[in-house]
């Protein structure tokens, strides 16, 4: 019979594999594997990309074009639609990420998660992989929204470095919000409850951010909420990078990196509950 089934590693080589080069490679390797997995799934079923594009399309075409005419929101020297587009980009990424925990509950119920956890993959690596896989999905979605925005006449930068920066902001934002979702999944362990909580969270996160209007317009209490809302920093970075509004990129990325780190740590700690 064949060698695939035959030669199992002796105990010594198991030891070696754990202490050798492999240990350091495990995190990036697992993240890459899980991101690739997400792309494979997207390739097999593209309908979700289309259905999820409907809502941002409506925000841009209906809400955006109407409010452009009203001229009630002070957006400096950029047209309102240009101001709005990065906010909608962040919103569509948020929607994808905040319901990402549903997938892990499905994987738990289907036994997929158990199988993943019995591979030599540290829990933090699994969560990090899932977090960035959500980012990959969000980025693919963002490309569609971005094309739509350009078609509507939004002036998006062609600078590849700025576009790469925007992808980084999207990945970090999706990492945080998907980990928030995984954390809730670890707490409620139930798909329906997670759906409910996700739905209760998305709109407040969206409205208590600078996605639709500048924070300066908000009442004081809401300003405070927006200040602690990572979405505000994601939008600020996207807006600065894509349409060139003044942005505090250093602070934005610092907040996003710290938020993603906290999210991954918390979700990893709760993953054990899902394994039970």
């Amino acid at each position: 019979m064949t060698s695939a089934a035959r030669a199992a590693p002796p105990a010594d080589s198991v030891e070696h594999a754990l202490t050798g080069r492999l240990a350091g490679w495990r995190l990036p390797s697992r993240v890459a594997t899980l991101c690739l997995l997400e792309l494979q799934k997207l390739r097999h079923d593209r309908t979700e990309l289309i259905t999820r594009a409907i809502q941002p399309a409506l925000w841009l075409t209906v809400f955006g074009t109407t409010f452009s005419r009203l001229r009630v929101i002070p957006t400096g020297n950029v047209p309102y639609l240009d101001y709005l587009a990065p906010g909608i980009l962040a919103q569509s990424a948020l929607f994808i990420a905040i319901f990402y925990g549903i997938q892990i509950i499905w994987e738990r119920d289907a036994g997929v998660l158990a199988k993943l956890l019995v591979t030599p993959t540290p829990r933090a690596a699994l969560v990090t992989g899932k977090a960035f896989a959500a980012g990959v999905r969000a980025t693919v979605q963002a490309v569609i929204v971005l094309i739509l925005a350009v078609l509507l006449g939004v002036n998006i930068t062609p600078n590849p470095l700025r576009l790469l920066g925007a992808v980084a902001a999207l990945l970090l934002g999706a990492a945080f919000f998907s980990c928030l979702s995984l954390t809730i999944a670890g707490l409620v362990l139930n798909r329906d409850r997670l759906m409910g909580i996700g739905q209760a969270l998305t709109m407040p996160l969206f409205f208590a951010s600078n996605a639709l209007y500048p924070i300066a317009l908000m009442p004081d209490w809401l300003k405070w909420v927006a200040l602690f809302n990572p979405l505000s920093y994601e939008v600020d970075a996207l807006r600065g990078l894509l349409v060139g509004t003044p942005a505090n990129l250093g602070l934005d990325f610092a907040v996003l990196v710290v938020a993603a780190g906290i999210g991954i740590t918390t979700a990893s700690a709760l993953l054990g509950r899902l394994a039970r």
Partner: protein, 271 residues
């Protein structure tokens, strides 16, 4: 196994106990599985078989007692234990949104199979399980028996020393059940790998296992070769008689809601 010093059991459990809140799922379990044998944990739903397996595979934390896989402590050497194990959970757990090949490739990556060897090893594992023809179809189109074989291919990619199968034939029709066991038996014969399997089908345990352990209400009631256990009870005794003798109870469902739910779900996915 030649790679291992003599006397290191494939699995050794000593005084293993596990409780979910008030419920004692496993109580003071002592068990050794010899390298190269097919060992069946037999018992009704809720007997503690799956909990035992989940502690052994590092899915549940070790609460009390000791558990080792080929000498590696499941608490301290999680990663080493996972590299030695191929695990197929109770549910039909292949990802329906991926092709058969992608499903196996995923585990090749997760088990750090070197890049150059991945493709041939994945092809090989699919071939052993008779899935070459269907390899590039979505797993969503597979029958229940094919999904089980796909999962065996996934578990095999790791070249495990210990194959852990939790109710591998639950919800399958008799022909698919036969095929799954055939493949497991072939694998064992060709590779000498140890197989630890849970089942509540008496006939399967009787025919397929070198030795069995009878579990009931979290405790191990008897261990031995099926024929020895039956012979000890007298001529003409069935495994069910053996169980009744040792457990002092009928072999009926004792599982909680979660067991029932997951069994139903498996049945539905197979539907």
């Amino acid at each position: 196994m030649t790679d291992y010093p003599d006397g290191v059991p494939a699995v050794s459990l000593h005084g293993l106990s596990y409780h979910f809140n008030e419920h004692q799922a496993v109580a003071d379990l002592d068990l050794e599985v010899r390298p190269g044998e097919v060992f069946g944990l037999l018992g009704p739903n809720g007997a503690g078989k799956t909990t035992t397996i989940r502690v052994l595979t590092t899915l549940l934390p070790l609460q009390e007692g000791a558990a080792r896989v080929f000498g590696f402590d499941v608490r301290r050497r999680k990663m080493a234990v996972r590299r030695l194990i191929g695990y197929v959970p109770q549910q039909l757990s292949a990802d329906a949104a991926l092709t058969g090949r992608e499903n196996v490739m995923l585990f090749a990556r997760l088990f750090d199979v070197p890049r150059k060897e991945r493709r041939p090893q994945v092809d090989e594992a699919l071939e052993i399980m008779g899935l070459t023809q269907a390899a590039d179809r979505l797993a969503a189109t597979y029958s229940g028996g094919m999904i089980r074989r796909l999962e065996l291919a996934q578990a095999l990619i790791n070249r495990p020393r210990l194959l852990v199968l939790d109710e591998p034939t639950i919800g399958l029709d008799p022909i698919a059940r036969g095929t799954v066991w055939e493949r497991v038996e072939e694998l064992r014969a060709d590779t000498g790998m140890t197989v630890l399997v849970t089942t509540h089908y008496m006939d399967e345990a009787d025919q397929m296992c070198d030795r069995i352990g009878l579990m009931h209400l979290g405790r191990l009631r008897a261990v031995g070769a099926p024929e020895d256990l039956k012979a000890a009870l007298g001529p003409g005794a069935s495994l069910e008689d053996v169980f009744r003798h040792h457990a002092g109870d009928t072999f009926e469902e004792g599982g909680g809601f979660r067991d029932v739910r997951s069994t139903r779900r498996t049945a539905r996915r197979l539907g």
